[in-house]
Symmetry: C2
Subunit: 428 residues, 2 copies
Amino acid sequence: MPVNLNLADGVPVAGVRLASVAAGIKRDGSTDLVLIALPEGSTTAAVFTQSHFAAAPVLLSRQHLASSGGAVRALLVNSGNANAGTGEPGLAMARGHAQAVAQALEVPLDAVLPFSTGVIGQALPDVRLRGGIEAAAALIRADAEGGDGAGEGIHDGPAWQRAARGIMTTDTQPKLTSRSLEVAGTLVTLTGFAKGAGMIEPDMATMLAYVFTDAAIDAASLDRALRGAVATSFNAITVDSDTSTNDSLVLCATGRGAALGPDHADWQAFVDALSALCLDLAQAIVRDAEGATKFITVRVAGGDSVAECRSVARAIANSPLVKTALFASDANVGRLLMAIGKAQVPEPANPVLSVRLDANRIDVRIGDVLAFAAGGVAAGYTEERGAAVFAREEILIEVALGRGEAVFEVYTSDLSHDYVRINADYRS
Amino acid sequence: MPVNLNLADGVPVAGVRLASVAAGIKRDGSTDLVLIALPEGSTTAAVFTQSHFAAAPVLLSRQHLASSGGAVRALLVNSGNANAGTGEPGLAMARGHAQAVAQALEVPLDAVLPFSTGVIGQALPDVRLRGGIEAAAALIRADAEGGDGAGEGIHDGPAWQRAARGIMTTDTQPKLTSRSLEVAGTLVTLTGFAKGAGMIEPDMATMLAYVFTDAAIDAASLDRALRGAVATSFNAITVDSDTSTNDSLVLCATGRGAALGPDHADWQAFVDALSALCLDLAQAIVRDAEGATKFITVRVAGGDSVAECRSVARAIANSPLVKTALFASDANVGRLLMAIGKAQVPEPANPVLSVRLDANRIDVRIGDVLAFAAGGVAAGYTEERGAAVFAREEILIEVALGRGEAVFEVYTSDLSHDYVRINADYRS
């Protein structure tokens, strides 16, 4: 059961058409292929996994994004099979499917970005994929070119819901939501959807997430905005410290609405809305984490650098002993200290101005309860007060390092019996 | 249930006296305080946890070891309470207990090294500790000074067994064993014992381990031998990636037997025996890991450096998704690729002579079965062949990185329902 996963509905973005079909990749016959068409003049930015085993579609999408300069016209997403660890045959298959989309929609090959998610190390079912592409492309072609009205069910709210559901694997709920802002008297919309529940500690991106806006923004500016937003959202979540081979985050601007860029007065408002949307989607992944019973925010402040705050926050968020204590509602301060203690903290950037990490200057708060200070358990702290916080569904753990001004927050879930059951019993 | 944990019996080391008592720190009334006396002229080396939250006894033992120049006369170990996260009062308590030992045994204060293991963040029961120290010191004083015969039960085999049991916390079995070598016609004995089952990814040392030899070795040489042995033993194991606040590994030479040093013809044989003993004890900790059903060796070869082999091996050994697949006997090659993919691999040390990590050059073997090669699943590999290996109690995972000569092995356990049960249900 997801933990308080209640996203606002997603609002359609003008110009985006989404066709979702069941191609027979997933065994249960549910929707597993989504083809997204973008109007001419759209710009796209993306960030991808840093894994050494980046999947074939990631390798190809990176190439296409670079050679097209962000002039992307179609995204092809299949769930159920990651096309990762599949070598040269896997790459040829991804290229063949992109080619099929390019022909069907009459766009250049490098205007198509393919994505896959699911089991690693198995060949994609080529014939089924091609059948699915044909069916999805037919839905898009049947729609009047450029039509944005409530047409054939490929640009209305339900079409977005189907797409968000079509990219799911072990997710229990689709993750789709919107933000908007006013630019020069017109409304700019940002709508995105994401999938992911396990194998989650993104490194520059997350499982699969797609964000669309009707603003007109050049590809370079779009890229800059995306990299800023990802640092504190998708790159700040962890379920199990495991990084996927297929992580991709894509941002497309259809240009149907207001023009925006770094020199525009409303640029920062756009970047803020984008960051908020990405944070909503990233947190939704943690709320739907495999076996999760709690949503935990680990906030580390007072660091010498953001990097060291992130390192301490991740050490806590990824510690199996902290995560099992959270599951058990056991306010085990000792395990928090252990996790802080093992974090990789670099030497101070400026040894004159700052000091080494000193356990005697560190404060630890569980919710609003000061648990640890001045090198020892805080005066007035009792296990009962800590346990009352750990029993909640939403838990804040705050660490103040006491040697600088930097802050970083990481979002995570607990480690439950169900995490082991899900990952020992099912193939992912 | 431990996985094939069958250590050879420990042989007493001449000059070492061990008194084990139940001081009432553990609630179940079992033995929880061990006092070990060393004869005059003994030398001692030790390595300690790198945790930022190193426990009070670790801080004090580091000081004493340095100021005494390794001329240690007594080790005081309590289980049931780690005296970590206890601030200045905890440090004062550790100092007071060392002082009590020094007075009772008539040795200098800095010749006493205190150690604690157990719950973090709770005050030691001072009165009980002091009562235990008095009782243990009385047992040692009752023994004839320097007597090595089968005396009052403090230097025979059962005394070693009691001490190995007295330092246990969540361990299910004591971990005590010996190695020996012949030096100039006389037998040199090495005997050690260790504890640990969870919170195990030692960084420069492990939970608690004590190794003794009757050889005569100066403190500096002893230190060098110890640091060599720890790298491939205690620093090569991981249960849950969690590093304790109290990790300590101590090596004491009583000088009752043959003299040894780096210039001696048998020095390498001594170092080899020490390394083998440390590896036995370190692997025993993994075999007794919380909830373990399997013992896994992850061997990474063909790396540009030992550091990168260690990084890849640890990424596999610490991946919750790999560990649950091992528990389930699911030969999930995809999860192995994922873990290799996320490992932190530095740029090549020499970019002219070596190449970046390339997924297409990596081979993965499960036991004797080649599972992955040339960027894809290996020809002839079947899930059935992989699953047959993963169903074993002892599993070898081999990764060949294909870009250098370096090798590193890491030893780990699987992630089972019982790991979550043990750590969610019990306080550690």
